[in-house]
Symmetry: C2
């Protein structure tokens, strides 16, 4: 089985779970369910669910039902994209090659669709089948903290907005990216570990992997924003520079940024040493994150 | 002890809990914590936490720590007000007699502050001290469902937005209000019951109370929007009519609406018959909801 096979199979499981947990577009009020589904099924790469599932399999190769927990991460990620794209925030018209949610459904419905996806993420975790209450609570606490204001995703967005007019220092850059994308990517791996019943040592090792792969992901994202076209990315390219965002290329230059991404990839591999072959998919996903072209 | 004493004491406990659980305004990123606190401590009546606490005491007069669970409802309610007031939705400048969140912090920060409060509500419930995992999961499932799109708060908001240009029928009116305000008010009572360890029969009786008091609340809200001035309400009066919202006075007229509110108050009382004196505060809160002037 190649990584392509793994991704295809697991993304299909995640998509099926998303489809099961998200109210059908025929259920009233129809508009909001259409809006939620529009962004959920817009060709996302499902990197967070894939990391969650792969981490679960690193702990227990026979883990089942983990895709139900994994999609909570995609629900949070998707809500954050919808709100981020709003005119009041990044004001973006294009996402994954299609008009953004508010361009199709209007600003009001896009705000409410984001709120709904955020709420649904926690509903899914509270209602997970065949999962102990202890595990559900641990998953919810992990996801809420990673999505929140203190070191979490929203905190990173605020730092990012406020950083647009600040001096691009290495310290500010690290703080923004650890929170903005790093926290949720780390939580993806951690939630997989928790779901599969990881020991403390396994949880710590996978956390370390998640931090390195999260940082690699962001460095590469910043590099792609400079090097790729909008068509290749499926979203507006070159926006970081236009908005004077603090990015890795802006602080370190392109060549050094590429070296840093590679160093994070290797550190991510090292964190998995104790897992042997069970962590195969995590290693390959880390490689993919760094070598991707969009 | 009078109801005023009860409200003062319990609202103080709820405020203290909100203050403990919400990151301090000195913690980075400061702006978002300031924005969250601006709307949380804006003189809200804390009706949802009070209902939750009073329901808990109806089940177990010696229940402790319930204010920590109760504030999750206030966090959800406050996020919904911030998002509702945005230019893309109700576009309101005044809330509880003060400028709305986005008028002070800007639309971007108001959107993120709402997202943060919503996320924090679930974080609080997942981290409740001295509470079993089973109870935490039940509370989270209850709150998420009541806040969601199918029969929950967001669903009601969507029906409300889409109802502005529809024929004001009794059926549409009931559907909107059962969801928009009713679901969260019912959840307030139910969460108090769950926290205090209610039996199934107690949970059902309190659910019925919550439905009646929720409907009464909305009918009175609609009446006050017609009869009171903006100064008395602390928010823009007469907006329902201006926006052609579907309201109880619009469908039934003022006199009939007042009769309906009184009937719901009595039905709420009846639902509490089996609780005796332990439900005293719930009865008095139901009376207050119907007889309030703002």
């Amino acid at each position: 089985m190649t990584l392509d096979d793994f991704i295809r199979d697991q993304a299909a499981l995640a998509d099926a779970a998303l489809n099961r947990w998200t109210p059908d577009a025929t259920i009233a009020p129809e508009t909001i369910h259409k809006a939620m589904r529009y962004s959920l099924f817009a060709g996302g790469k499902r990197i967070r669910p894939l990391l969650c599932i792969a981490a679960g399999k690193a702990v227990d190769p026979n883990v089942t039902g983990i895709e139900n927990a994994a999609i909570a991460l995609e629900l949070i990620h998707t809500y954050s994209l919808i709100h981020d794209d709003l005119p009041a925030l990044d004001n973006d018209d294009l996402r994954r090659g299609r008009p953004t949610n508010h361009k199709v459904f209007g600003d009001a419905m896009a705000i409410l669709a984001g709120d709904s996806l955020l709420t649904l993420a926690f509903e899914v975790l509270a209602k997970l089948p065949d999962t102990s209450d202890r595990t559900k609570v641990a998953l919810i606490a992990e996801l809420a903290t990673a999505s929140g204001t203190v070191g979490g995703m929203i905190g990173g967005q605020v730092h990012d907005i406020e950083g647009e007019r600040q001096k691009p220092t290495a310290e500010l850059l690290e703080r923004i990216h650890r929170a903005k994308t790093g926290a949720l990517l780390r939580a993806s791996v951690r939630m997989g570990a928790l779901y599969a019943g990881a020991t403390d040592a396994q949880y710590q090792a996978l956390s370390s992997f998640g931090e390195h792969v999260g940082l690699a992901f962001q460095i590469v994202d910043d590099i792609l924003d400079v090097e790729q076209s909008s068509e290749e990315l499926g979203k507006t390219a070159g926006k970081d520079q236009a908005q004077e965002k603090i990015t890795f290329p802006a602080v370190y230059g392109l060549a050094k940024s590429k070296e840093m991404a590679e160093a994070e990839r290797l550190a991510a591999h090292q964190a998995l040493d104790s897992f042997g072959d069970a962590a195969r998919w995590l290693r390959e996903i880390a490689d993919l994150v760094v070598h991707r072209k969009s």
